[in-house]
Symmetry: C2
Subunit: 340 residues, 2 copies
């Protein structure tokens, strides 16, 4: 099995954002698995979710499983604000910390497109797929580069966030940080000074992301994923997920997610009609963030899209494949996407 290559940096040079600001010496991180074939037609782009890192996507990449690195070149690209690519936490003044410019999902996808074409010389992608904010990037890819994306899969996502989701981003991601006494408009000295705000983020996530019944007496789904109590799950899953992250980076990702729109303020239905990819719109039952009924409606707006629903006890968290049945359900759906 080909070994993964360590995280690399694609130097974008002076990169003009859609806002009009030019980000000097902009960087896009990426990680690859497998090799590009001679025809250059076996590449998969798998962007990541808010606060995510390659490790959370690597769990699906394995020989003999759908995302098989002996068959495909799998590229996990970063996004601006995610901490390794250009972000508030790693950019020089005048764009450091609280002064990092607003970026968009479109900026991310434009940078990812440059990576794929300039570094790898790829003209057509076998598949673009992503979960949650990764799905928002997938929609942007499919609309912006319709001739290039052969297959696409939105997993627990949407072309743009719903009114509930934008409220969630403000309330769960931004306000616990911007209300922290150490926030100082993003000009804190040490991200650890905001540990209380990061923990509160984790608590709101613990409240809103698992599906109804997850904590219920007699169900206690956290048991099946290795936790000894609800509070153990909150501390070791949610707080542990948030604490290593940089608050400005999270706020940047949240704001860009809130503004995501593949029609850039235009006619979203018309934008979705541009999609040429064979598209799968995949929902998880019990997902409050991207409810199945909304995903089903999204699928109906896309030419020839297919809607699939995955049954799980994980709701929006099913992509973490925390249980063997979730892992199997995810593999089955990815197999359908790749062969469909």
């Amino acid at each position: 099995m080909p070994e993964p290559i360590a995280t690399q940096i694609f130097e974008l040079g002076d990169f003009q954002l859609t806002s009009g600001i030019t980000l000097p010496q902009a960087k896009l991180s990426y990680k690859t698995y497998g090799t590009l074939n001679a025809a250059k037609d076996n590449a998969i782009v798998f962007p990541h979710f808010l606060g995510g890192a390659p490790a959370a996507l690597e769990i699906f990449i394995e020989e003999g499983r759908p995302l098989d690195p002996s068959k495909y070149l799998i590229v996990l690209p970063g996004l601006f604000g995610a901490g390794v690519s250009s972000s508030p936490s790693n950019t020089a003044p005048p764009f450091d910390r609280g002064a990092f410019p607003q970026t968009t999902i479109a900026d991310d996808v434009i940078a990812q497109h440059r990576l794929v074409t300039e570094v790898f010389g790829i003209e057509q992608l076998h598949l673009v797929l992503g979960w949650s904010v990764g799905a928002l990037q997938t929609y942007e890819w499919a609309v912006r580069f319709p001739g290039m994306v052969k297959r696409a899969a939105s997993i627990a996502g949407a072309p743009k966030p719903s009114p509930w989701t934008t409220l969630w981003l403000q309330t769960a991601i931004e306000e616990p940080l911007t209300a922290d006494p150490a926030w100082n408009n993003g000009f804190y000295n040490d991200p650890r000074d905001l540990q209380a705000g990061l923990r509160r983020q984790g608590h709101i996530m613990a409240l809103t992301l698992p599906p109804l019944g997850f904590y219920r007496e007699g169900e206690e789904v956290w048991r099946s994923i290795g936790f000894s109590s609800r509070n153990d799950f909150i501390a070791r899953f949610w707080e542990a997920f948030m604490l290593p992250q940089d608050p400005n980076d999270l706020v940047t990702q949240s704001r860009k997610t809130r503004a995501a729109d593949p029609s850039a303020g235009g006619d979203l239905d018309a934008a979705l009609q541009q999609i040429k990819a064979k598209m799968f719109v995949i929902a998880f039952n019990g997902d409050m963030m991207f409810p199945p009924e909304e995903c089903q409606r999204d699928a109906q707006r896309i030419p020839n899209a297919q809607y699939r629903q995955v049954t799980s006890k994980g709701g929006h968290l099913t992509t973490f494949a925390l249980t063997p049945p979730d892992k199997q359900a995810m593999d089955e759906i990815l197999q359908q996407v790749l062969t469909g």
Copy 2:
């Protein structure tokens, strides 16, 4: 129609709390509608919910409707920590503000029982009913004074809060206040100094209390209750609800709600078996706080209880009777409770 009597205060004297602390010159507020008949068997006790005030319950009290003040004496009792009864905001040192002692739902019901028996000489209640934290008090009444409660109705409530609900109380009610830079362990000088924390509470409530789909494009249930946008609903409904409240009072109510347990740490099933009231357990579809499946299970634990489900677009908010169909649905269910 008998006029309501303005809020009154029942002087409890030195009141020993279940924690062992004696609260000097303790007070319980109450408001009544209608008059007690000669047989003293037409009284209804209707305790209120977290952050609630009589005005939110008065909307159900009207001649010709189920809670008819020409037929019943309807008593709306307060609870400790709710701002008019003894609370952090109105108690003298050493029990002022952040030093107000922990109270329990049992303390509230013991005080309410003294009100009903000592002031009115009532030996049997026609009905005890309540929504949410009012339902927790209703369960406490039905278990603690089984011979006295002839009928009981838990509306969108439970005998004790679920693991999700206790997480909600910590995350939505307590943390936005205790994390506010002005909190100072409850020893702030002016509750308005915590306006930012109170608003954040409102945002988390707006996120978690309406049912799935409430904000969805094309549904936008807030329109039907008189708001012009999602943000208008968040500001004029949620922020407006929270801003007048005292942070210590809210935290006191939240902590007692988290600890609610009619078995006082004992065998809850055995406690529920004590109930002699003809009990209705009423759930709202889409209520994430007290989901119908959990209420149905509660009903099965109570002798002869009947389970009812109310269909509405309001979820946990259905009790506010914000729409004419919700008002009608609530009246129909109350009629069943009173005649059942």
